[in-house]
Every structure is written in structure tokens, then in C-alpha cells.
């Protein structure tokens, strides 16, 4: 996985250069792309960070690029740069899930702040994703019986009731319970229920 950075896509070389210079002055790692097509060509799912997209570009526009990225499962927050006439476009983009839009000419470090926020969100998001992935893998280690027992534990049943319901010995329930806690790396039923949101 590559390092998180701000990806600047703008067809105006001066803008790219200026934003890049601004980001660097705040220590924001960034890379620049001269067109939507160029970015798409080099896009890989493991690119992380955020996107700064110009709405208007020769060739593919920023919004189009955004659509394309969504279909390809890109989750990086996107900040649009718009001219003052492009606000309706930007609003539409927001509805589709863009992170924010900034009207040109933008206010000094406001853009940087936004980018930093976006980067943090991306990081959090990635963390979240990582957590989810480890939970899944822990759940995967459970046996079928242990899964049944865990469902009942999460439903708040006591061991005795679980043993009755499953027609097994209380002792066996206790063993299962210990094994579940161990495999899910929790110490109590409360922790377990926090880890796994109740099913609808």
C-alpha cells in the first residue's frame, strides 16, 4: 500500500504547480496529474489519500472522473475546485458523495485544511476498514457450534438457557464460551456485543 497523499488533477499547469507548492508548504504530500485521463490511467486501488479535482478540464471533466472512480470502488474523499459559475455542478457532485467543493480563487489555506481533513477521514476510513477485516477473519475461525453459541450469548442468554436450547451440557457451553472469547479476543460478553453490532 502506497503512502497517503493529495492527488491534484488539473489541466492548468500553473494551478497544479501552485497548489502543489501550497501543499508542500504545509507538509502535505501530493502528486499532480495533468488530466483526468492521465489519472485514470495510473489509478490503482491501493492509491490512498484524497483527490483535488478541477471541475472544468479539457477532455474528461472532473465530475466524469469522479463517476468513473466511484464505479471502480475508489473511496478517497474528493474535493472539487470550481469556478463561480459551476456551483450547481458542485452541489450535484456533493450529492453523489464528494467530500467538498472549493470555489476558485480559494481562500489561502482553507483548501489545505480541507485536504488535511480529507486525508484524516481517509485514514480513519482505512482504519475502520482494517478493523472490519480483522473481525471478519476472527469470526471465520469460529466453528458452527461456536457461532450458534455466540449468537445466543449476544442475545443475552445465560449458559444454562443456552445449554437447554442447544440440548448440550452446561459445561460444554462454558467451554464454547471460553473458546469464543479467546478467538474473538474479547474478555466479556459486553465487549463481544460492542464488537458485533446487533443484527436487524
Amino acid at each position: 500500500m502506497s503512502e497517503p497523499r493529495a492527488h491534484i488533477v488539473d489541466d492548468d499547469e500553473a494551478i497544479r504547480d501552485a497548489i502543489s507548492w501550497l501543499f508542500r508548504s504545509r507538509g502535505v504530500a501530493n502528486s499532480t496529474w495533468p488530466s483526468a485521463e492521465a489519472f485514470l490511467d495510473s489509478y490503482r486501488p491501493d492509491l490512498v489519500g484524497c483527490l483535488v479535482l478541477d471541475v472544468r478540464m479539457d477532455g474528461m471533466s472532473g465530475l466524469e472522473l469522479f463517476d468513473r472512480l466511484l464505479t471502480r470502488g475508489c473511496v478517497m474523499p474528493v474535493i472539487f475546485l470550481t469556478g463561480h459559475g459551476d456551483v450547481p455542478l458542485a452541489v450535484a457532485a456533493l450529492k453523489k458523495g464528494a467530500y467538498d467543493f472549493i470555489e476558485k480563487p480559494f481562500n489561502d489555506n482553507e483548501l489545505v485544511n480541507r485536504v488535511l481533513e480529507a486525508l484524516a477521514i481517509d485514514a480513519a476510513h482505512r482504519q475502520n476498514l482494517a478493523n472490519k477485516a480483522s473481525l471478519e477473519s476472527r469470526l471465520a475461525t469460529l466453528t458452527a457450534r461456536e457461532r450458534e453459541v455466540m449468537e445466543l450469548i449476544l442475545a443475552g442468554r445465560l449458559n444454562k438457557l443456552i445449554a437447554d436450547e442447544l440440548s448440550i451440557a452446561v459445561r460444554t457451553v462454558e467451554v464454547h464460551r471460553a473458546r469464543i472469547f479467546e478467538k474473538m479476543r474479547v474478555r466479556s460478553a459486553v465487549e463481544l456485543s460492542q464488537l458485533l453490532p446487533p443484527k436487524r
Partner: protein, 659 residues
């Protein structure tokens, strides 16, 4: 007189009546005088002829008498010689025959003795000479007796004889020794007498008649053919006596040629005078008619001049006004009598105008150039008016130039209207430019945002660095330089917009068409980029300069570029190229703007340049119309043609600036 026409003619001159009567009376009187003179002349001539007639009559009477008297002497001498017997009968006969042969009218000589018996007759009496019965015997006894008694020769009465003749006798008594011894009788034939004694020249002039007291003609002689006599004179033919008379008839004879010629000449001259008088009268009447026609014509022309709205001014060589018409007076507000005769400087010349036409106070005599010139004149109230002046030399009847005639047309209103139209055209162009700019505003704002955004970013970045003291000097300088570049870029955009919409009087100057094209492309490029149209510029360097107003030409190019972009909306993006080229052609530069659109159909082509015709939903329909008027204002042409391979090329030409 150099004036083209006097304001008024003198009153019509009718010749006085006496002028006509006098020559007639004079002619009549002179005719009468001449007639009287001729009559008098004739009279005197007739008198003269009459006198001559009388003279001639007397002369012939004398002549005849002389001959008869001589015969008396001869007869007496012969008779006496016979009576005295001094001669014998033979000698007597010889002498008698001599007398008879003298041919002087005596036809028979008789000797009668004292008893009255005829003793000798020479020649012997012939039958033809027989005395008429009625008139008694011959010789006449009474005459014989009278001669015997008186002792003097006696003539008998004339008597007719056979052969249309008349005879008379002379009895010459003879006395021998105081004794009557007989008488010699000579018998005269009147006819022979006249034939032999009247000279030929006399007979040429007159007719001589011998008449008795009954006016019966006994004998006559003339060579003149018979006609009515004009004059006559009768003298008694006395020696033969007894009532015989000589009647002289004149036939006028040959009238003298000179008076006739004179009369003929006088008559001819009189007729010539009459004829010339008539001709003169006809001529004068003709002149009268001509004068009347001239007067009518003059009145007509005057009315024409007065009704003209064109001012007319005539000046002589010194620049003195010799004529103005009412229209000109109205035009400049000066009354006619103040202008006519006015010497330069003329009052309607504005003091600030120094360029004066040749006739109008200018010195040179060269003909005015061109078909007309615009001049500014000064009204009396101080207002200036614009006029169009046409001048022509004023030529008099002998063909010499006496000055100048100028027709003056007030074009102030027209000039104002032109001014207004030009101002409106300018406003329209400016409006069109503003509209164009308005349509481009959104893209231009975006275009302007780009450098501004970059500037803000560079600036913020620099500040960030500077605030945290972790900057690299070279980095800051580099960023600042880039910032400056972007500021220039923004400035360039602003400049283009400003130059495009700047309201300024059209000013044609030599300008670089390539720069104009680049500016226009620069203005429209953001819009084109948004609509995925690329430009292909073909600007050969160096381009000759053209004489043009930069803003106007930029407007034309911009309009054509926008049309090209609009035309290619349905074209595949890869094909969307607007090509701009410049080429030289016959002293002009031709700019071509080519698109790859769908072309122009014939229906659209017909109306393409009409105002308010548009194929665009939001178009005003003035773009191409304005383009064309701008190009034509620059003496160029704007046209279009299909482009090879699809699309349209718009071209316009501009004249090259003088090198």
C-alpha cells in the same frame, strides 16, 4: 456683363405709329412727284414734238411753194419764148419735156392761146389722165380766165382724176408786147408731187396728207405703217390755193429710250423701296415676336430660378458676386442686394476656412477639380452650414470665360443624418462587442480565475513557508516568479477584454494582423476549450501590415471564430478544429476561418448576411452583418465558400498599409 441674367428686362419697346406712317407718306408723295415730273417731261416733249411738227409742216409747205414758184418761172420763160417765136416747136417740146422730166410733180404742160384753145399738150393726154366728168374740163377755163384777167399765175382747184389721184393746174399768163398771148398750163399730180418732192426722211417721220376743205384726203405720202396719229398740224397749201391744206400727221415715232429707261428705273426703285419696306416691317415684326418669346422664356427661367432649392452664385474673375438666386439667399441668410456686387472676402465665408475655390475669392484660374466639393459656409446669423458645391466656368457669348457659376446644395441635414447613422453603426458595433463579451463572460471569468487561483496559492504557500521559518530562499524566489507570471497572465486577459470592448473612435492604422488574430484566439480559447474545439493557426511570419482599426478587425475574427465553434457542436470531438490562415492576394491580406461543421445550405446562405437572421437559439442575428459592414468600411470584402472535406470557410480581405 458677366451676370448670367439681368433680374429684369426693360419694358417692351413698341415703335411709334409715325414711324410706320412717315415712310408710307413719303413714298406716296415721292411717287406723285415723280409722276408729275414724268407728266411734265412728257408734256414738254410732246410740245417740242409739236413745235417740230409745225416747223416741219411749214418747211415742207415752203419747199413745195419754192418748187412751184420755180416751175412758174420756167413755164413763163418757156411760154414767152414760144410766143415770141424765139424757139421752134421742136425746141419748145424739148424744153417742156425737160421740165416734165425734172420729176417734180408736174405731169403735163399745155399751151393755151389767147382764145383759150389748147395749142400744145405735152405729153399727149392719156386715158388715165382723163378729167373726171363731174369736175369739168381741163384745163379749167375759169382759172384761165382769172389768170388772163389778173395777169398773174393762178392755180386751179384740185380735182380727182382716174387712178385715185388728184390734180391741179397752174395757169401762167403770157404777155407779149403788153398783149395777152396765151397761157402756159402745168398740170400737177398731187400724188406725184408728194412722191417726188417730199424727202424720204420726212416720210419716215410723218404722214403728209393733202386735204381739201372737206378734209377729204387727196394725196398722201408716208413710209410709216398706218396707225393712229398722235399729233397733227395743218397748214394751208396756199399757192395752189382754193382750200387745199397740208396735213402733217405724227405717229409719235420712236419714243426716246432715255426717259423710258429713267421711268423704268424709277418704277423699279420705287418697287424696291416698297419691297424693302415690307421686308423691314416683316423683320421688325419677327424681332418683336422673338422679343416676346424671349420675355416669356426669361419669365419662365426666373420662376425656375426662384423655385430652385439649389443655390446659385456667379462670380467674376475678381471674385465679385455678380448674381445670386433666392435659394442661395435663403441658404446663407443674406439678402440678395447685399450679396450682389460684393467683393471678396465674401460674407458667407467662414473666417476659419482658408481653402477657397478658384472662383470664390481664390486667385488661381484653374478649373475646379472633381465633380463637386464640400464646403462650409457661414450664415448671417453665425451658424455654419455644410454645402456641396459644383462649379462651372461662366462663358459669355463670345466664348471667353467671365467668371464662375457655382451651384450650392445644403447638405447640413444629410451630413447630420450621416453622422447619426455612423454613430449608430458605431454603437451597434460596440453593443455587438459587448454582447459577444457577455456571452463569453462566464468562460472568461473562469479563465481569469485560473491565474488568480494560482496567484493565491503561490502567495499562501509562500506565507506558510515564511511563517514557519523553514523556507528555502531559492524556493520562495521561484514561487514568487511564478506568481508574477500568473499575474501577467491575468493582466493579459483583462487587457484583451478591455481592448475589445474599449469604446473608441474608429481609427485606422497600420496593424499586425497576426497579433490581432492571436488576441482574438486568446479571448475565445477558453470557450473553445470548454466545447472541445481546437485551433490551428497558420500565420506566416512576417506578415505585411494592414490598414485597419484593430478593435473592429478583432471583432470580425472573434465573430467568425465563434461561428466556427458553434458550427462544430455536432461534429465528432476529434474533428473539431477551427483553422485560421492568412494569405496575400493582390495588395490585400485575406484571412480565412475554416470549420468542419455541417456547411451552409443555400437557403441559409441567401440570408446569411441579413440583419437579425440567425440559426442560433440565442443569437442576435447581427454578427455577420456587422462583420460585413466592418470589412466593407475597410474597403475589403467578406465572403464564404464550402471547405474541401466538409465545413465552411469564411474569408475576408483587407488592403495592405502603404509600405
Amino acid at each position: 456683363m458677366s451676370a448670367p441674367a439681368a433680374p429684369a428686362l426693360p419694358p417692351p419697346s413698341r415703335p411709334p405709329a409715325w414711324l410706320w406712317i412717315l415712310p408710307r407718306v413719303a413714298l406716296l408723295l415721292s411717287s406723285v412727284a415723280i409722276a408729275v415730273l414724268l407728266w411734265l417731261l412728257h408734256r414738254s416733249e410732246v410740245d417740242e414734238q409739236h413745235q417740230a411738227l409745225i416747223g416741219d409742216a411749214l418747211w415742207i409747205e415752203q419747199d413745195l411753194r419754192f418748187h412751184l414758184d420755180r416751175h412758174v418761172d420756167l413755164l413763163r420763160s418757156l411760154g414767152l419764148d414760144r410766143v415770141s417765136n424765139q424757139i421752134d416747136a421742136q425746141k419748145y417740146e424739148l424744153r417742156a419735156r425737160h421740165i416734165l422730166g425734172s420729176g417734180e410733180g408736174i405731169v403735163q404742160i399745155l399751151f393755151v392761146d389767147a382764145s383759150g384753145a389748147v395749142r400744145s399738150t405735152l405729153p399727149v393726154q392719156s386715158a388715165e389722165r382723163m378729167v373726171g366728168e363731174a369736175l369739168g374740163t381741163s384745163p379749167a377755163p375759169d382759172t384761165f380766165r382769172l389768170a388772163m384777167q389778173l395777169g398773174t399765175p393762178q392755180y386751179s382747184s384740185a380735182y380727182h382724176v382716174v387712178g385715185q389721184d388728184a390734180q391741179f393746174e397752174i395757169h401762167v399768163p403770157l404777155f407779149y408786147g403788153n398783149q395777152f398771148a396765151g397761157a402756159m398750163v402745168g398740170i400737177y399730180s398731187l400724188r406725184t408731187l408728194l412722191a417726188q418732192l417730199v424727202p424720204w426722211w420726212f416720210a419716215e417721220r410723218y404722214k403728209l396728207n393733202v386735204v381739201d376743205d372737206n378734209r377729204a384726203v387727196l394725196a398722201s405720202k408716208t413710209n410709216v405703217t398706218a396707225r393712229d396719229a398722235v399729233d397733227e398740224h395743218t397748214v394751208p397749201f396756199d399757192p395752189p390755193g382754193h382750200g387745199l391744206m397740208l396735213q402733217l400727221l405724227s405717229y409719235g415715232g420712236s419714243t426716246p429710250m432715255l426717259p423710258l429707261l429713267l421711268v423704268a428705273t424709277i418704277i423699279a426703285l420705287s418697287m424696291a423701296i416698297v419691297w424693302s419696306l415690307r421686308a423691314l416691317r416683316r423683320h421688325i415684326l419677327g424681332r418683336h415676336e422673338a422679343e416676346r418669346a424671349l420675355r416669356a422664356e426669361h419669365a419662365f427661367r426666373k420662376a425656375m430660378e426662384d423655385s430652385l432649392v439649389t443655390g446659385m452664385v456667379a462670380v467674376d474673375h475678381e471674385g465679385r458676386v455678380s448674381y445670386v438666386n433666392p435659394a442661395f439667399c435663403r441658404m446663407v441668410g443674406w439678402p440678395e442686394d447685399e450679396l450682389t456686387g460684393h467683393a471678396p472676402p465674401l460674407p458667407f465665408w467662414p473666417p476659419e476656412e482658408t481653402q477657397r475655390p478658384p472662383g470664390w475669392g481664390g486667385a488661381e484660374n484653374s478649373p475646379p477639380p472633381g465633380p463637386g466639393r464640400e464646403l462650409r459656409l457661414l450664415r448671417k446669423d453665425g451658424e455654419r452650414i455644410d454645402t456641396l458645391v459644383h462649379e462651372a466656368p461662366l462663358i459669355d457669348a463670345s466664348g471667353t470665360q467671365t467668371g464662375w457659376l457655382a451651384s450650392v446644395l445644403d447638405i447640413t441635414a444629410r451630413k447630420r443624418a450621416e453622422e447619426l447613422a455612423r454613430a449608430q453603426q458605431e454603437r451597434l458595433q460596440l453593443t455587438s462587442r459587448l454582447v459577444t463579451m457577455g456571452e463569453l463572460a462566464s468562460t472568461l471569468a473562469h479563465e481569469l480565475n485560473q491565474p488568480l487561483a494560482a496567484i493565491a496559492s503561490y502567495n499562501a504557500g509562500c506565507l506558510n513557508r515564511l511563517e514557519h521559518d523553514d523556507y528555502d530562499r531559492a524556493e520562495i524566489i521561484e514561487a514568487s516568479r511564478k506568481l508574477g507570471t500568473q499575474a501577467q497572465r491575468a493582466g493579459q486577459i483583462i487587457r484583451r477584454i478591455h481592448e475589445f470592448v474599449r469604446r473608441s473612435a474608429p481609427k485606422r492604422a497600420a496593424c499586425d494582423l497576426a497579433a490581432v488574430i492571436e488576441d482574438a484566439v486568446g479571448l475565445i480559447e477558453p470557450d473553445a476549450r470548454k466545447r472541445q474545439v481546437r485551433f490551428a493557426l497558420d500565420l506566416p511570419q512576417p506578415l505585411p501590415r494592414v490598414l485597419a482599426d484593430r478593435g473592429m478587425i478583432e471583432q470580425v475574427i472573434l465573430n467568425l471564430l465563434r461561428n466556427a465553434i458553434d458550427a462544430m457542436q455536432e461534429t465528432a470531438p476529434a474533428q473539431r478544429v477551427a483553422a485560421i490562415g492568412v494569405g496575400r492576394e493582390d495588395g490585400t491580406l485575406v484571412v480565412g476561418v475554416a470549420d468542419r461543421g455541417c456547411g451552409i445550405g443555400p437557403e441559409v446562405a441567401a440570408k446569411l448576411f441579413a440583419p437579425f437572421f440567425t440559426t442560433k437559439e440565442t443569437g442576435m442575428g447581427m454578427g455577420l452583418n456587422i462583420c460585413r459592414s466592418i470589412v466593407e468600411l475597410h474597403q475589403g470584402q467578406l465572403w464564404f465558400e464550402p471547405r474541401e472535406g466538409g465545413g465552411t470557410v469564411f474569408r475576408f480581405s483587407l488592403p495592405l498599409a502603404a509600405p
